[in-house]
Assembly symmetry: C2
Homo-oligomer: 298 residues x 2
């Protein structure tokens, strides 16, 4: 049985694990990130965690899952709110040299997408799109079991795609950017405005939409906007499946089939077999880091 | 020197050629398509043309370039105004069996994109986008020298991508579809409306925009719309270069640098090295059919 080291570097915790080729977590270690203590501190913690794994010697490679835009080619963080001190630092290089194993790095969305492609809903398909709809909106194209990073490592940053150029710019994103209209916080923002309420999360808005016409209008626009975004992805890469994950998917029963129907109406008749699916792999961020190493070593 | 058979099947003419691996056309034959006489007639013509090529025996494979959406996996035409009788017919299979050579088929835009990737502006890059802006608008993603067809063979049909959902639907496309606002005919349509004139082609509109504010407004909107479309492509696949071809590019001097600047403003700072380039390969439709065979046999 082939095994890989997986590292999930988050703003709060670092986790390191030994994962087998079928995605089973055999061993896991965890520690606080303590990013405020600087990059040397974080890197040393990561190294300690990896070194403490009993299965380290047998592992064929190391995969690192990192939040936010990542330069997968050079193994560096491009942008990060939680780990600003690590921006530009050659993380993958350092880990590669320290442990003398092939080391690969990609952002958390891409890594989860690979997990889904190799182990979950996407198994057996060679053209997939993976999307997270949560606080942020980002995606990853997975072709033949490998994630497309793009020239600058920004492939999949579709949260900034324009879905309606007539709307305002929010939080520095483009006017009418997808993330400003289909993310969890955007649903809450629009519903609070429309209903003059203080919804706590998108789930409450979907619930309210069952009896409140104003909340319903917000949800209907969300469905239209998401359909436009997904159709745009389909026109570029025509995936077999779009697998969706993220907090907003807790309410998928309230919107996913409508979005699929509206997306298909926007597609050419010959493209309408593309399905929307729930992402299904548990611990995809950690397991996916191992699958990144597996896919790159395949 | 390796050689390939290239076939360019058009609504008016069929051309068959022997092309070497560097894209040099060594031999070329041409005949009328006469599509109205039915698929058997067209297929027999194609076979005759190929059979008449002196370099046929030595050729390693056959590439077919076909207009419109094409099922590259099964080698069939999906949709066609000019060749309706051939829709769904197993063109590639028949040619493969008749000549006993590996045979590949893709639409004319994808084929031209491969030519550009292997021989032209895209040489040396492994992540490219190719776009035609002519009567229609369509694209092709070229990764590691191979074109992305997509699950249904519709990858690259970005003419139907929504760039502004508030605009009308034209010719059966989606509301605010790219092709309805950045194609040659769309520029002429909008300028005729704005200026109450009868422009013949987009080049006249770009010329008029130098002195007529109303024509200028049409051109400025075209630039904004094209920037939104291209930025959308970048957010999905983050290409190194976007190579553009088509009739509207005759006026590229009047818009391309502005579009590049506006596109970059829409991108995240770390993505702004992506360049717009003129497609440069001559006879890309024919030469690209050979490059399709070369790339698939590589």
């Amino acid at each position: 049985m082939k095994t890989y080291v997986a590292v999930d570097l988050g703003g709060t915790n670092i986790r390191a694990a030994i994962v087998d080729e079928e995605g089973k977590i055999l061993e896991i270690k965890k520690d606080k990130t303590e990013a405020s203590l600087g990059k040397e501190h974080v890197m040393a913690k990561m190294e300690e965690l990896i070194a403490s794994l009993g299965g380290l010697n047998e592992a064929l490679g190391i995969g690192l899952g990192i939040p936010g835009p990542t330069d997968t080619i050079n193994g560096k963080i491009i942008l990060s709110n939680n780990l600003p001190d690590l921006i530009g630092y050659p993380i993958a290089d350092r880990i590669r040299k320290r442990f003398n194993k092939p080391t690969f790095m990609a952002n958390d969305v891409k890594v989860a997408g690979i997990a889904e492609a190799l182990l979950g809903e996407g198994r057996g398909s060679n053209n997939l799109y993976y999307l997270t709809i949560s606080t942020g909106v980002a995606g990853a194209m997975i072709l033949d079991g490998k994630v497309l990073s793009g020239f600058h490592g920004h492939g999949g940053e579709i949260g900034n795609m324009t879905i309606d150029p007539n709307r305002e710019s929010i939080g520095g994103l483009n006017k009418g950017a997808a993330e400003s209209w289909v993310s969890g916080p955007s649903i809450v923002r629009e519903a609070n405005k429309a209903c003059n309420k203080k919804f706590k999360h998108a789930g409450e808005v979907f619930e309210a939409a069952k009896s409140d016409e104003r909340a319903k209008a917000v949800v209907e626009r969300f469905k239209d906007d998401l359909a436009v975004l997904l159709a745009g992805v389909c026109f570029v890469c025509d995936p077999e499946k779009i697998m969706i994950q993220g907090g907003v998917m807790k309410s998928a029963g309230e919107f996913l089939s409508d979005v699929e129907e509206r997306m298909r109406k926007l597609l050419f008749p010959g493209m309408r077999e593309t399905t929307l699916a729930y992402a299904s792999v548990e611990e995809a961020g950690l397991v996916g880091a191992a699958m990144l190493a597996k896919s790159e070593l395949a």
